[in-house]
């Protein structure tokens, strides 16, 4: 996959757990244009192994002199965010992919309700720039743990005024989804990005109220789960790969020199889907892309997040 060489131009501690990184192109030229909601995948070389973490672009799409991302330090994780916080310094060179948008605004929407939880605020920052430019009707609802964890809240209050509503958990402020979603005019779209429980709650509330699927949008950056090691065989590449406990199949294939297709690396976009030619064990589907029937058929698998318990898992790649 094509990458862009970038240099870290600035790092800012925004909240105790969140750092804002500013990237500029190594060669000093302008970045590619992007639309609100896009993300890039940052490659990090940690102890000889390449981690690829997706991060939403937070800056205004109108400014292509720099890309802005924010990273939340995840303690119980595979180390990518910890590395970003503790080892990445100003001036360092990194590789990122071109921006991809799997969370775009519905251009024909009459109104947009944006719901963010914690670090989930990031894709909305660039979306708001687009919404303001379009003169669109929108509301941003931002829920976070406690005041010092509300990244960019003050900035958002200034730019969005009365369109911005925040809910501080520690003050007992709760967003009432049913109330919010039951009185919206026709043509409204709802977008959610945040922890899994919040995304599930919004999807469920909207669906129960009768919102059509195409008016409900969500984005989650789920890290691949850790599991037991297992073996896979690649039919076309003619190699066998041992997938370690803390690596996804996709990462194990990349480490072995294979270059499978990917986009979100989080089990939602479908780009990395592979056909299962043969298996002697059980597939553990961790994605949100395949249908229940497809998962049960064991003929397809999403290597970015799913795993298996087997000696043989022959993939068509």
């Amino acid at each position: 996959m094509s990458t862009i060489n970038v240099k870290v131009a600035n790092i800012k501690q925004v909240t105790p757990l969140i750092k804002h990184f500013t990237f500029v192109k190594e060669d000093g030229s302008e970045f590619p244009a992007f639309s609100g909601g896009s993300h890039v995948v940052v490659s990090l070389n940690i102890g000889g192994r390449v981690h690829r973490n997706p991060y939403s672009l937070m800056g205004s799409p109108g400014d292509t002199s720099a890309y802005h991302i924010s990273v939340r330090k995840q303690e119980h994780s595979r180390g990518g965010s910890v590395f970003m916080h503790e080892n990445v310094t100003v001036g360092m060179s990194l590789k990122i992919t071109y921006p991809v948008n799997l969370f775009s605004l519905a251009k024909k929407g009459r109104k947009h309700i944006l719901i963010a939880g914690g670090i989930g605020i990031t894709p909305f920052m660039s979306q708001i720039a687009d919404l303001e430019r379009m003169g669109a009707d929108f509301e941003l609802h931002y829920a976070f743990r406690s005041p010092e964890h509300g990244a960019f809240a003050r900035e958002l209050e200034q730019s969005c005024g009365n369109k911005f509503h925040c809910y501080t958990d520690s003050n007992g402020e709760r967003l009432n989804l049913n109330e919010l979603l039951s009185k919206q005019p026709l043509g409204t779209h709802v977008y959610v990005c945040g922890p899994n429980s919040m995304v599930v709650a919004v999807l469920e509330a909207a669906r129960n109220l009768g919102w059509p699927e195409r008016h409900i949008h969500s984005e989650q950056f789920l890290a691949p789960p850790i599991g037991e090691p297992f073996k896979i065989q690649l039919a076309k590449s003619n190699i066998e790969i041992q997938v370690p406990a803390e690596m996804s199949m996709l990462e194990a294939m990349e480490a072995a020199g294979v270059e499978p297709d990917f986009l979100c690396r989080g089990g939602v976009c479908g780009r990395c889907e592979l056909d299962v030619l043969e298996t002697d064990g059980a597939l553990m589907h961790n994605d949100h892309f395949l249908s229940d029937a497809e998962k049960a058929s064991c003929k397809k698998i999403m290597p970015c997040v799913s795993r298996a318990k087997c000696e043989r898992l022959v993939l068509d790649i």
């Binding site: 024909k108 026709l186 009768g210 919102w211 008016h215």
Partner: protein, 150 residues
């Protein structure tokens, strides 16, 4: 909310059945035009979560679709059921007029009086089928006219 009008294309008037079956929000109106107007009156009060189900002739269905589209309801979210008549509205590619209630394979354009062949090409935006002059090459010589959309 149920909006209903009896139409001349069917013999049965379902008004009484609906009165028994629909618990609330039923409006019995006297014509398709009144239904369209009642719909326009109600739409501004509706919220997300509203589902649209429309049953009737094609012309009726697409007029309803046009009204709800103004409020941001997209075509894929409207459940449509064609009932009663197969009659088609045709869009004259020559003078751009739309002629309603054509039940035959060839119909006369209400705008320019050309005899138009009724094609299967359909425009959701216009709610009409494509009609083009059937005797352009040999004026006056028409194929047999048959009622194929009763």
């Amino acid at each position: 909310t149920v909006l209903y009008a009896h139409s001349s294309s069917t013999d049965v008037n379902y008004a009484n059945t609906l009165r028994k079956v629909v618990p609330e929000g039923l409006q019995i109106l006297d014509s398709e035009q009144e239904v369209q107007q009642a719909l326009k009156n109600i739409l501004p009060t509706m919220h997300m979560g509203m589902r649209v189900y429309v049953a009737g002739s094609e012309e009726f269905i697409w007029t309803v679709a046009e009204s709800v589209k103004e409020f941001g309801v997209e075509d894929g979210d409207i459940m449509k059921e064609l009932t009663g008549t197969l009659a088609r509205s045709i869009y004259c590619v020559h003078c751009k007029a739309i002629t309603h209630n054509i039940t035959t394979n060839i119909g006369k354009c209400a705008g320019c009086e050309r005899m138009l062949f009724v094609r299967d090409h359909f425009s959701r935006r216009l709610g009409a089928y494509m009609g083009l002059m059937v005797d352009a090459e040999s004026p006056g010589e028409l194929p047999e006219i048959e009622e194929i959309y009763p």
